[in-house]
Amino acid sequence: MTAQERAETAQRLMTALARGDRTALARLIALFGAGVRAYAAQALDSPADAEDVAQEVFLRVWARADRYDPTRGAVSTWIWRIALNLCIDRNRRGGVRRFLGLEAAPELADDDPRPEARVDSRQRLDRVRGQIARLPARQRQAILLRASAEMSTAQIAETMGIASGAAEQLLVRARKTLRQAMDPGEETA
């Protein structure tokens, strides 16, 4: 499915969703669910919450379907903006709860070896994920929208509510930091 077809399908599904069609919601989840969950797994301080946050995103989509205005942006942008804000809220709440001692600090991926994975790629992945987690919030959001959602700079800008140039700057800075963490000999192979 091309990006254009995807956008048109999403638009049709949103129209059906606004009429209360639950089948349309299931199809919308099939279109965007995996991407939203993958983004949440990278963006959240606690990746275990990714599934819950992804579900919450689509619950909000369902509840606010009649408020979606197609003149203000594509369906995908609207959904990703909800995902972005939910991840920010969840991280903020998690931080407060950890500060108050109500929640254990999430373990870093580096401390979570998975024997089934190849050690080299796992170590590389963990190193990059650790580096992404250390990026400033806006840079992290931008690079994850690029990598997880495979968005263009314009779409990232629209989702984050910033100018295209500002989004490009965030991407440039994030890439620069991450390049230092990845092996330069392998990164563009």
Binding site: R22, A26, A38, A54, Q55, A147, E187, A189
Partner: protein
């Protein structure tokens, strides 16, 4: 190829490498998510009108609403009564409002 083009190509390659690195983590199965979301929607959905049996077993909320409507109707009735410019009329209305006319 200009330096800018090379840089853009490098950036695209970097983004693809990053996507490839993170993508194996992606679980593409969304059936379970659909089921969970639809179940949560079904759990949240409550009937908009209370069934008759519910009203009969717990009549207080509906009774309170009815009483408020009666009071509002009485207030409107008093407000429309002629004699607001007459001190005796005002005393009578005040008496009715305070003591219920007893």
């Amino acid at each position: 190829m200009t330096r800018k083009d090379r840089k853009m190509e490098d950036d695209d390659a970097f983004d693809r490498a990053l996507t490839a690195l993170l993508t194996p983590e992606r679980d593409t199965d969304t059936a379970e998510m659909s089921r969970a979301v639809l179940s949560r929607i079904a759990a949240r959905t409550t009937p908009r009108r209370a069934p008759l049996a519910e009203v009969l077993t717990a009549p207080a909320p509906l009774g309170a609403g009815f009483a408020v409507l009666l009071l509002a109707a009485a207030g409107v009735g008093y407000a429309l009564v002629p004699g607001w410019d007459d001190p005796m009329g005002l005393l009578m209305i005040g008496d009715l409002l305070v003591t219920g006319g007893l």
